[in-house]
C-alpha cells in the first residue's frame, strides 16, 4: 500500500511507501499514531502544522460486508484534542481498492486559494476549486460527479467548513446518487476548510480490489461474518435495525428517560411517538420513500432510508436516531418532516447535526428561537450558511453558543456536544463522554446495547463497562467496520483476526488484536495529555451532577475518582 502526501501550500502531491510504524494500522489507529508522530499537540488546529488525515480501515477494499467506513482525523479545533470521525459511503472501500493507506493533507494554502484533490490509482493532482466556493455539499458533489464521472467518490465540505466553523463536518458520497454520509464530529470540516480543500474526488477503482495474502482464510472468515450478521435477530432482514433504521431505538431511549429533550432539561418527550422508527417507517413507505437502503454496497444490514415529503419527493437520506434526538426532541419538535428538513440543511451546510442540534437547543433556552417552533429554529440554522455572526456562532457549536448567550446548561464534554443519550439516565454513556479521548461521543463506547449487563441508572460497574466498550470501538473504527456489525467479532474475536490475517498475512493472534485496540486509546490519551487536556476538560458539566433529570429524578453520580480510574486497566 502507499501513502499520499499533499502539501497544500506548495500545491505538490507525493506518493510514498507506508512507513513501517504505520504499516499495521488503519483508520482511527493510523490517525492516532500519525498525529502523535507528526503533529505538534499544542499547534493551532486550524494552522499550518495540523494535518488532515483520510484513511480507510484495515478491512477497506477487501469486500467484507459493512466494513467500508472511512476515517477522517486531525487535531480537533472543537475539543483541542485528537479527533477521528468516520462515515459510510464509498470512499473507504474505494481507497482500500486503490491500495491507498491514507491521504495526509499538510500546511496552509496561499491566502484565498481553494482546491480539489483528484486521486486515481497512481496519480493525484490539485486543481482550482474557485467555482465551487460557497456551495453546499449536495451541489458540490453533484457538480464534481458531472465533471469527473458519476462513479467518482466525492468528499467535500459545505459553507460551514469554508467559514472554519468548529461544528463543521465532512460529507462523503455513497452508493448510487447518495450524497450525504457525514464524518460529522469534532470540527474536521473546519480543518479541511483551513487547508483550502473544498473536495477530494476519488476515481472509480473499477476492476481493482485489495490483494489477499491468504484468500482461503479470508473468504471463509468473511463469509461466516456476513452470515452471522444475517442470522442476528437485531440486524438481519427481520431485525429492527433493518426495518426501522437507527431510529428503532427512539421509543426505548424515550421510555428509559434518556432522550435529550428541550436542551437536555428532561429525559422524555411528550411528542416522541411521532418521532419513532415505527412512525418513520410507516410514513416513508406510505409516501413512496425507501427503507432498508445501504450506504455501502454489499452491506447486509441496510439500515438507511430515504425520507420523503407528502408528494414523495426526497427530503433527506438518511434520517438517523442521533439527528432525531438532537434536532427533534431536544428542540421540542415532534414532526419527522421538520427534523428531516433541518437534517437536510445541516448536511448541505456540512454541519454536524449533533453539535448543531445542541447549539440550537441552547439558543432556544436563550430565547433566540422557540422550542417546538420549526420556523424560528430553521431561520436560525439558515444563518449558518449566510455567514451572519449569529449563524457562525451556532455553527461553532454548543460550548461557544452557551458562552456567548450566557446559558449555564451546556450539554458538552471536552468542548463537544453530547449525542442522543442523557448521561444521567444512561450513566455508562456518561462515563464514555467524560473519559473518551474523543470527547462526548456515543460511538466511542455506547452503553445502550449493554443495558442488561449494567443497570443504566446506577453508578456501579459503569467504569469497567465503558472501558470495555471503548476498546471495542477502537477496533471497529480502526478496521472500518460499522458499529452495528460488532456482534459477531465481539462474540468471536478470532473472526476479525482471520479476516485481517487473510488480507495481510500478519499471523496475528487475538492478543495482538486486543493490544492493537488498546494502543489506539493509549496513543490518543497521550496526544491529549501533550495537548494540555486535563481531567477538568473531560468532566460532565456541573449542572448534570446537581439537577435531577425527569422522569427518574437522577443525577450523574459516578464519582470523579471512578472516572479518573477508567484507563487504569487499559
Amino acid at each position: 500500500m502507499k501513502l499520499l502526501r499533499v502539501d497544500i501550500n506548495q500545491t505538490q502531491v507525493r506518493w510514498e511507501p507506508v512507513p513501517a510504524i504505520y504499516e499495521r494500522l488503519g483508520g482511527r489507529a493510523l490517525i492516532a499514531r500519525l498525529l502523535l508522530e507528526e503533529v505538534p499537540p499544542l499547534c493551532d488546529a486550524l494552522g499550518p502544522h495540523n494535518k488532515l488525515i483520510v484513511a480507510p480501515g484495515l478491512l477497506g477494499g477487501s469486500g467484507v460486508t459493512t466494513a467500508g467506513r472511512l476515517s477522517i482525523g486531525a487535531k480537533s479545533p472543537l475539543t483541542g484534542g485528537v479527533k477521528e470521525a468516520n462515515a459510510g459511503g464509498m470512499a473507504g472501500d474505494t481507497l482500500g481498492k486503490l491500495g491507498i493507506k491514507a491521504i495526509v493533507v499538510e500546511a496552509r494554502p496561499i491566502e484565498g486559494a481553494s482546491y480539489i484533490l483528484h486521486v486515481a490509482s497512481d496519480s493525484a493532482e490539485l486543481v482550482p476549486a474557485g467555482h465551487l466556493g460557497g456551495l453546499g455539499t449536495y451541489a458540490t458533489a453533484g457538480r464534481l460527479q458531472e465533471q469527473f464521472g458519476p462513479a467518482s467518490t466525492v468528499i467535500s465540505i459545505g459553507q460551514a467548513g469554508e467559514f472554519l466553523l468548529t461544528g463543521a463536518g465532512i460529507a462523503c458520497t455513497g452508493d448510487a446518487d447518495q450524497r450525504s454520509n457525514i464524518a460529522a464530529r469534532g470540527g474536521l470540516g473546519a480543518v479541511m476548510g483551513s487547508k483550502g480543500l473544498k473536495a477530494v474526488v476519488i476515481h472509480s477503482p473499477a476492476g481493482q480490489r485489495a490483494e489477499l495474502a491468504d484468500p482461503e482464510l479470508f473468504r471463509a472468515a468473511a463469509r461466516r461474518f456476513a452470515q452471522e450478521l444475517i442470522n442476528d435477530p437485531k440486524l438481519g432482514p427481520q431485525g429492527g435495525t433493518h426495518l426501522y433504521g437507527t431510529a428503532s431505538i427512539t421509543a426505548a431511549v424515550n421510555e428509559m428517560g434518556a432522550l435529550p429533550t428541550r436542551n437536555f432539561s428532561t429525559g422524555s418527550f411528550a411528542g416522541a411517538a411521532t418521532l419513532r422508527g415505527e412512525t418513520m417507517r410507516e410514513t416513508v413507505l406510505a409516501r413512496g420513500g425507501q427503507i432498508g437502503t445501504r450506504c455501502m454496497p454489499g452491506c447486509v444490514i441496510a439500515c438507511r432510508n430515504v425520507y420523503v415529503d407528502e408528494v414523495g419527493q426526497p427530503i433527506v437520506g438518511t434520517l438517523q436516531y442521533e439527528t432525531i434526538a438532537l434536532l427533534g426532541a431536544n428542540l421540542g419538535l415532534g414532526s419527522l418532516d421538520d427534523v428531516a428538513r433541518l437534517n437536510y440543511l445541516c448536511n448541505d451546510l456540512g454541519l454536524d447535526t449533533i453539535e448543531a442540534g445542541a447549539a440550537l437547543g441552547v439558543a432556544c433556552e436563550a430565547g433566540l428561537a422557540r422550542f417546538g417552533d420549526f420556523a424560528s429554529i430553521a431561520a436560525l440554522l439558515r444563518q449558518v450558511g449566510e455567514g451572519t455572526v449569529l449563524g457562525r456562532l451556532i455553527g461553532c457549536g454548543v460550548v461557544a453558543t452557551g458562552r456567548v448567550l450566557g446559558i449555564r446548561r451546556v450539554p458538552a464534554a471536552m468542548g463537544q456536544a453530547m449525542p442522543g443519550y442523557d448521561p444521567r439516565s444512561l450513566k455508562g454513556n456518561g462515563v464514555t463522554y467524560a473519559t473518551s479521548p474523543q470527547g462526548a461521543d456515543h460511538t466511542a463506547g455506547n452503553a445502550f446495547g449493554a443495558r442488561k449487563e449494567v443497570n443504566p441508572l446506577v453508578a456501579a460497574g459503569q467504569r469497567q463497562l465503558s472501558l470495555k466498550l471503548q476498546v471495542i470501538s477502537a477496533m471497529l473504527d480502526s478496521t472500518g467496520l460499522c458499529l452495528f456489525a460488532r456482534p459477531p467479532v465481539i462474540a468471536d474475536p478470532q473472526l476479525m483476526v482471520d479476516m485481517i490475517n487473510g488480507i495481510y498475512g500478519w499471523g496475528w493472534t487475538k492478543e495482538d488484536l486486543d493490544r492493537a485496540n488498546r494502543d489506539v486509546l493509549r496513543s490518543e490519551l497521550e496526544f491529549n495529555r501533550r495537548a494540555g487536556i486535563t481531567a477538568a476538560d473531560y468532566r460532565i458539566p456541573e449542572y448534570m451532577r446537581e439537577e435531577p433529570l425527569a422522569p427518574h429524578q437522577v443525577t450523574f453520580d459516578v464519582p470523579d475518582a471512578e472516572l479518573d480510574a477508567v484507563f487504569s486497566a487499559l
Binding site: G240, A252, E255, M256, H442, T443, G449, K452, L457, H552
Partner: protein
C-alpha cells in the same frame, strides 16, 4: 388491577400497540407476555414505568409495561 401495556417495533404486528389489561391477581411480566402471545425470545427490553425489568419481576397496579424487540445500540 389494571396495567397499561405497549408493544414496540416488530413485536406481534397484528396486535394493538397500546392496551389496558385487567389482571385478576398479581402477575409477573412473563405471565403478561404469555397472555399477549409474546415469545420471550423475541423480547429484548422490558420497561416498567421506564425502569428495566426482567420476565420474572412482578408488575404493580397502574403501571405502564413496555415490551421492546431486540435492539442494537447506535
Amino acid at each position: 388491577m389494571t396495567i397499561d401495556v405497549e408493544l414496540f417495533g416488530q413485536l406481534l404486528p397484528g396486535l394493538a400497540r397500546c392496551q389496558t389489561l385487567t389482571l385478576d391477581r398479581t402477575a409477573t411480566v412473563a405471565e403478561v407476555a404469555s397472555r399477549l402471545g409474546l415469545d420471550p425470545v423475541e423480547v429484548g427490553l422490558i420497561l416498567v414505568d421506564g425502569v428495566q425489568h426482567e420476565m420474572e419481576d412482578v408488575v404493580l397496579p397502574d403501571c405502564r409495561l413496555c415490551f421492546f424487540p431486540l435492539l442494537a445500540g447506535g
